[in-house]
Symmetry: C2
Subunit: 226 residues, 2 copies
DNA sequence: CCATGATTCAATTGAACTATTGATTAGTGA
DNA sequence: TCACTAATCAATAGTTCAATTGAATCATGG
């Protein structure tokens, strides 16, 4: 790599810099949280369980690579995902799940029994929502729901699902979604709902993918940053 | 990263391993060449200008990440791109060109004057080919053309373009393409053709993207491996 | 079965990356 | 202005990664 650096070489190196930014477990986690909505450094650090200083440096790495932007809001800095990043992560996940042995192994270990919950596609959900034949629930925490959610969804955080069961119509099929295709919240929700006799399925993707596809979303008008 | 490693953590780490594989200039170059067709190690080393031993190790890195597969053919090993990788690279390029300062700078430096050559889209090319109103030329070297090319294309390697000019109809507009959206071959071809009074434009993408989109391709029945 | 060509392997060196620590900057409100 | 909170910065040590070199495989053809 220490060479004369022709045009080609430098362009590939530049693209590689962007790839390096997504080539770390913590940064992928940060990006997944940012895909749910804008977030401050400390908030992200708490959600991911890494120290503030470390999160700060990883976020700056993402910033230099052009994956996020920052704005100040009083004493905190709010990071936001750039356009195209959700698609990049989707392409990465797709290749990993299709061909990478390590990823397949982890998925088999943690999602094996659950893959029988045949998921619902975007198109199918749109059609069923139009005819009013499903109840759509968002099982993410309330603050994430408030920052943005699928149009027509009802927030039922996983923690409160047992209590909410009483208010759900057992005759109507339930579709649950959460942060993304490999987020465990909705897997758990489906299992619990089925255990109570509900007909429940899982949306194949999460809120970020739905939004990136340009499908209808809603947003609560409550203060966006917790 | 040295932690208890929950399900989430290990899955993100796994995805990060795949991302690491594309996070190197040489490996991106190798992937671009593999996107043109299957290639042996030495061949790739020659095309990219890196040593055989180094290329071998990078290719094994790509293999472990699930981006390529290998088969033996006599004494050589032929590497092949896995499905979905072209899309991953396209997503990476898209984010880099939209938001990464370094990439934008390189592109401005090397492609600035050339971006005025307003490119042709897949759809537009399909339509124009159907009505027979363009001559489509593939300006890659002959061996790459043989391994696969757009249906209806004529091979005019960049090196022979001056000689081929005589055989082209000056009344019909020319569309040129090569290895990908940032491959310089077709930029050069357009410039030379225009200098000779031809009406010439560039296909926005290259052969790999066309093929990945499922559009019609052709292949010469000559020995595939040089 | 030996020589050859293609590729991989193993060991080494230097460079780059990551997490941690403690100090520092920057805004906010009393 | 002072204390307080949020975030970044700077230095460090441990770890991983990359390129080079030369030796070792492994299939092929005489």
């Amino acid at each position: 790599m220490v060479q004369m650096m022709g045009a080609k070489q430098t362009l590939y190196d530049s693209f590689a810099e962007v790839a390096k930014a997504v080539a770390h477990g913590y940064r992928l986690q940060l990006l997944e949280h940012l895909a749910q909505g804008d977030r401050a450094v400390e908030d992200l650090a708490n959600r991911t369980g890494i120290t503030v200083a470390n999160a700060s440096q990883h976020l700056q790495h993402l910033y230099r690579a052009g994956l996020v932007t920052v704005r100040r809001e009083g004493t905190r800095r709010i990071y936001r995902l750039n356009s195209g990043v959700v698609e990049l992560l989707a392409a990465l996940r797709s290749v990993a799940e299709a061909h990478h042995a390590g990823s397949q192994q982890v998925i088999r270990a943690y999602f094996a029994a659950r893959d029988s919950l045949e998921p619902v596609s975007h198109d199918e959900l749109m059609a069923r929502l139009a005819e009013g034949s499903v109840t759509l629930i968002d099982v993410r925490p309330a603050d994430e729901f408030q920052q943005g959610h699928l149009a027509g969804a009802r927030n039922v955080p996983l923690a409160e699902i047992e209590a909410a069961v009483a208010r759900l119509d057992p005759e109507i099929e339930i579709v649950a979604y959460c942060r993304g295709p490999r987020c465990v919240l909705s897997f758990d929700a489906i299992e619990r709902l089925r255990a109570r006799g509900f007909k429940a399925r899982r949306l194949a993707e999460g809120y970020p993918e739905w939004k990136a596809a340009g499908l209808p979303t809603g947003q609560s008008d409550i203060a966006s940053i917790p």
